[in-house]
């Protein structure tokens, strides 16, 4: 299975992808100012912040409740079980993970060759270009495998719990300003999940991803 480091790297990649979608450096500069993000939609000011101690406790209880429901439901399976089922169908997810690890080693090897070039000399340009291209293509190959693997494991208990944690956190920490006071936007998690305000939910998820990244369920 993936190491904690790999999971962290994947989460970091997700955040950096989200960052690439940010409008510009000025917006990013603004987001760095504090450990919360504020924005306006129409006349309403919204805010997303990190969950406090009580909210983290509530989140943990929800996660336990959901986990108990999922593990007693025969329709839901852990990643390891899904990996075994796919293996019987001839789809080798363990091999995908090994391929990713092998690509990481290859990238390091090429990086090592690339690092030997100092100040740019005309005669080195071709070699530098080829090595950079090699690294770039290996990264694309690794991302492709990662996406394929994520798709195959999307319906696992682990992924469902991550989804719950992300959406429940968003429900807990999304606030709007009412008469100079910050109050929760949705009265309940169900209201949050039923909301059809796509723009608000999308922004909340994106900003929350920048404030917190989910590492591993075991870390929760």
């Amino acid at each position: 299975m993936e190491t904690k480091q790999n999971v962290r790297e994947e989460e970091a990649k997700k955040i950096t992808t989200a960052l690439q979608n940010s409008e510009d450096l000025a917006e990013l500069d603004e987001m760095l100012k504090n450990n919360y993000v504020e924005w306006k939609e129409g006349d309403v000011s919204y805010k997303v912040r990190k969950p406090n101690h009580d909210e983290r406790k509530e989140l943990r209880m929800e996660k336990i409740k959901c986990h108990n429901e999922l593990r007693t439901n025969p329709d839901w399976k852990y990643e390891q079980q899904i990996i075994l089922e796919y293996a019987n169908k001839g789809i080798d997810i363990a091999d995908m993970i090994n391929k990713q690890l092998a690509i990481n080693v290859k990238i390091k090897e090429v990086q090592s060759q690339l690092s030997k070039f100092g100040a740019e000399k005309e005669e080195d340009n071709k070699a530098i270009f080829e090595l950079k291209n090699k690294i770039y293509n290996l990264m694309i190959e690794r991302n492709g495998i990662s996406l394929e693997k994520s798709d195959l494991l999307a319906d696992s208990i682990e992924q469902e719990l991550l989804m719950l944690i992300n959406t429940y956190t968003a429900y807990l920490v999304l606030e709007k300003k009412v008469k100079d006071k910050w109050v929760r936007v949705f009265k309940s998690y169900e209201d949050f999940m039923d909301s059809d305000n796509e723009s608000l939910l999308e922004k909340t998820g994106s900003y929350l991803g920048m404030l917190i990244f989910r590492t591993n369920l075991k870390d929760e």
Binding site: A12, I15, T16, T17, L19, Q20, S22, D24, L25, L28, D29, M31, L32, K33, N34, N35, Y36, K50, K108, V110, Q111, S112, L114, S115, K116, F117, G118, A119, E120, I128, K132, I135, Y136, M139, I140, N143, G144, L147, M210, L211, I212, F213
Partner: protein, 111 residues
């Protein structure tokens, strides 16, 4: 699938002269970079890491590190390669200091 891998904006921002000056001066005079002084968000932590990495690259350049040039710092693929080289070199030096030696490749041989 997104087939384009680019330098992320956070790193680009950390490379700007303004942030490099603020970061390096901030270390000297204990200046707060953000509105909050604790409980940093993940984006702030990542940004601090980038600031530190890029600052260390400029420091190496100023110290005359022969494998480093301005072009490398401005090229994220080459900068990453250099940082890996530096990390490996540090580990090797530590091992040599501890009476161990490194064989070819990445595997370590204790003697």
């Amino acid at each position: 699938m997104n087939n384009v891998i680019e330098e992320n904006l956070l790193r680009k921002l950390a490379r700007t002269p303004r942030w490099q000056i603020v970061y390096n001066r901030g270390k000297e005079i204990n200046l707060n970079l953000f509105g909050n002084t604790s409980d940093f968000s993940q984006i702030q932590i990542m940004f601090l890491n980038y600031l530190e990495h890029i600052s260390s690259l400029y420091l190496d350049l100023a110290m005359g590190e022969e494998l480093l040039c301005e072009e490398t710092i401005n090229d994220w693929i080459r900068a990453d390669a250099y940082l890996l080289y530096k990390r490996n070199k540090k580990s090797e030096e530590k091992l040599v200091g501890a009476g161990k030696t490194k064989s070819s490749g990445d595997s370590i041989v204790y003697v």
